[in-house]
């Protein structure tokens, strides 16, 4: 987040959101007071650590098979058991974190990189180009998102890049719509009128006045989007059109375990809980961020 003050014109602004240093610090304090958000952030940090340090943390190679130790229940040797190929589940879950987080980050990243400019064009400049772009976004929003991802991923035939493309694609319109709506309202603020009045260029107004006011909602949308993308990626992998085997993936491991669930419960429970814990953590954080950045939606005090 940009932490510097935005110049004197912010005083004119009536919206009590993350405008200046003081309100921003207030937002941080509100976030720190939210225990669930802190818990979510801690779990997310742990997952990021797992993703980065996977080779150090994982006791085994995620794809190395041990046919003498198939279907081992959780033991001292294999803390979370092994699968039908004797692969260590704990190691697969740790490496799977890497796959999930990279895909989620890249998808949201490219969705934001495309969606935010579209929203700014439509919201700040408007005009026929903005209009056509938004109608196109509306059309994308007319598909159930998961179906669109399945159609794209299914047509292009799986693989990490395809999954990122498909999952990012379904988040582009969300960012565009959100940014457009907010840009429209920020554009009418007195400090923007003032900036236009003293002759600031469009680029400067966007960079110094519009975008800093959108950071909050973009962060919230990005965080909540992150958890949705993790679910969608797991869904695609579960359906067999995500990241191809033998790469570890929470969704596909869950689907692989499905066949043996009556005898080897850990093959289902471990990936299932991993997905739930990660998604819950990110949602806790996202809810906390939303409450902290926008006092109006805060739970009643």
């Amino acid at each position: 987040m940009t932490a510097e003050a935005n110049g004197p014109e912010q005083i004119l602004d009536p919206i009590p959101a993350q405008k200046d240093y003081r309100t921003r610090r207030l937002a941080v304090r509100r976030l720190l007071q939210n225990r669930m958000a802190i818990l979510g952030a801690a779990i997310l940090l742990l997952s990021i650590l797992c993703a980065i340090a996977a080779p150090v943390l994982a006791p085994y190679e995620p794809i190395s098979m041990d046919l003498s130790a198939t279907f081992s229940p959780p033991t001292g040797e294999h803390l979370l058991g092994t699968d039908s190929f004797g692969r260590d589940i704990l190691s697969r879950v740790i490496y799977g974190t890497r796959v999930s987080l990279i895909i989620a980050l890249a998808s949201i990243g490219w969705a934001a990189a495309v969606g935010i400019p579209i929203g700014l064009i439509a919201g700040y400049f408007g005009g026929p180009l903005g209009n056509v772009l938004m109608r196109l976004m509306d059309a994308f929003l007319s598909f159930p998102p998961l179906l669109l991802a399945i159609a794209i991923s299914g047509t292009l035939g799986g693989g990490q890049a395809t999954v990122i493309f498909a999952l990012g694609m379904i988040w582009v319109p969300g960012f565009a719509r959100l940014v457009r709506g907010s840009a429209l309202s920020v554009r009418e603020e007195p400090f923007v009128t003032a900036a236009v009045g003293y002759g600031a260029s469009s680029a400067r107004i966007l960079w110094r006045h519009i975008i800093p006011n959108l950071v909050g909602i973009i962060v919230v949308e990005g965080t909540l989007g992150f958890s949705h993308v993790i679910i969608s990626e797991a869904t695609l992998s579960f359906l067999g059109i995500g990241v191809p085997p033998p790469a570890p993936s929470w969704g596909r491991d869950l689907n692989d375990g499905r066949a043996y669930m009556s005898d080897a419960w850990w093959l289902v429970i471990v990936p299932a809980l991993t997905i739930i814990i990660n998604v819950l953590a990110i949602n806790f954080l996202g809810d906390g961020l939303r409450d902290a950045l926008d006092p109006r939606t805060r739970k009643g005090e």
Binding site: R135, L136, D138, A139, F140, S142, F143, P144, P145, L146, L147, L148, I150, A151, I152, G154, T155, L156, G157, S227, I231, A234, T235, F238, L239, G240, I241, L254, R258, M261, S262, W265, V268, A272, I275, I276, V279, L280, N283, F284, D287, T297, K299, G300
Partner: protein, 314 residues
């Protein structure tokens, strides 16, 4: 009201055109065509060319797009590559199953979500509130297929009270089909149940702080009446939108659950087509579901503007 509906209706054809364009472009993002797959082992260059010509795949893309849209407008979505059956007829026979699944999911989501949302708002910041909202967040955070796994483990593997997969079509045996859909419906409605509860709670909390509620309490109305008659009416409005969106989303989610439970719905058809690279089917299902999605959203918007007249003037 009428002008608003008319204006929204007029936007539909343009939206549909954009949608058909997206669907068509998607199918042609991938290099190559289904011809080699269709011919299998007996493929020669001549046979491929002949089949391409027969399917119209040798024509320029814009021409193919126009004829696809033209045929779709006339109720012809082409034929499946895998089994040569009419795509539209197959979708029509499967759509009722998908709708039933989504409808069952929505029914229990509403039956749980609305009372929980109201109760949590009324008992704001009590332990009941925190507990319900934790459950609601869990509902939103547990992916439907993960929930399905837990349900199968519990209800089918451990307790053996519900069937795991298959089942008749609702068109043949409605009750039998619904028994098979019980578990997937529970799984598909989890998200909506959580979201409805969360949404209703927050709008209810907001409404309960408004002046007219203070007035209602001030004139001595019993709390029950204040909650159910005065507050709920206004608080339900945002929830109604969520309801429409969630129902539409369930059509996407049904792909996964129909696949897990082998239900004879549109989603299952779609997944088979994905594995066979059956382009006309993927194209047709995506188009039809998008159409249904639009109609539901449209109906929600109209209902919304009917309940809250302020919407129309935006």
């Amino acid at each position: 009201m009428l002008t608003y509906t008319a204006r929204r209706l007029l936007q539909l054809p343009l939206l549909l055109l954009f949608i058909s364009f997206i669907v068509f472009s998607l199918m042609h993002l991938a290099p190559g065509d289904p011809v080699p797959l269709m011919l299998g082992d007996i493929r020669t260059a001549e046979a491929e060319a002949a089949l391409r010509h027969e399917l119209g795949l040798d024509r320029p893309l814009p021409m193919q797009y126009v004829s696809w849209v033209w045929n779709a407008l006339h109720g012809d979505l082409g034929y499946s590559i895998a089994n040569k059956q009419s795509v539209l007829r197959e979708i029509a026979s499967r759509l009722p199953n998908t709708f039933t699944l989504a409808f069952m999911g929505m029914t229990w989501a509403v039956a749980i979500g609305i009372p929980v949302g109201i109760y949590a708002a009324v008992r704001q910041n009590s332990w009941v509130d925190y507990l319900s909202m934790t459950f609601a967040l869990a509902g939103v955070s547990i992916p439907n297929f993960v929930l399905a796994m837990f349900l199968i483990l519990l209800l089918a593997v451990r307790l053996d009270v519900l069937p795991i997969s298959g089942g008749p079509s609702v068109l043949e045996d409605p009750l039998g089909a619904m028994r098979f859909m019980l578990m997937p419906a529970l799984a598909i409605g989890g998200y909506a149940a959580g979201e409805i509860a969360r949404m209703l709670r927050s709008s209810m909390v907001e409404v309960l702080n408004q002046d007219y509620i203070v007035t209602a309490r001030g004139k001595g109305l019993p709390e029950r009446r204040v909650h159910w008659q005065h507050a709920l009416k206004n608080a339900l409005i945002p929830t109604l939108t969520v309801l429409g969106i969630d129902f539409a989303y369930m059509l996407g989610g049904s792909v996964v659950l129909e696949q897990i439970f082998s239900l004879p719905g549109v989603g299952h058809y779609m997944m088979q087509a994905v594995f066979w690279r059956d382009y006309p089917v993927i194209q047709g299902v995506t188009l039809v579901v998008a159409l249904v999605f639009i109609v539901i959203n449209f109906a929600t918007d109209i209902a919304y503007s009917y309940i809250d007249p302020r919407i129309r003037y935006e």
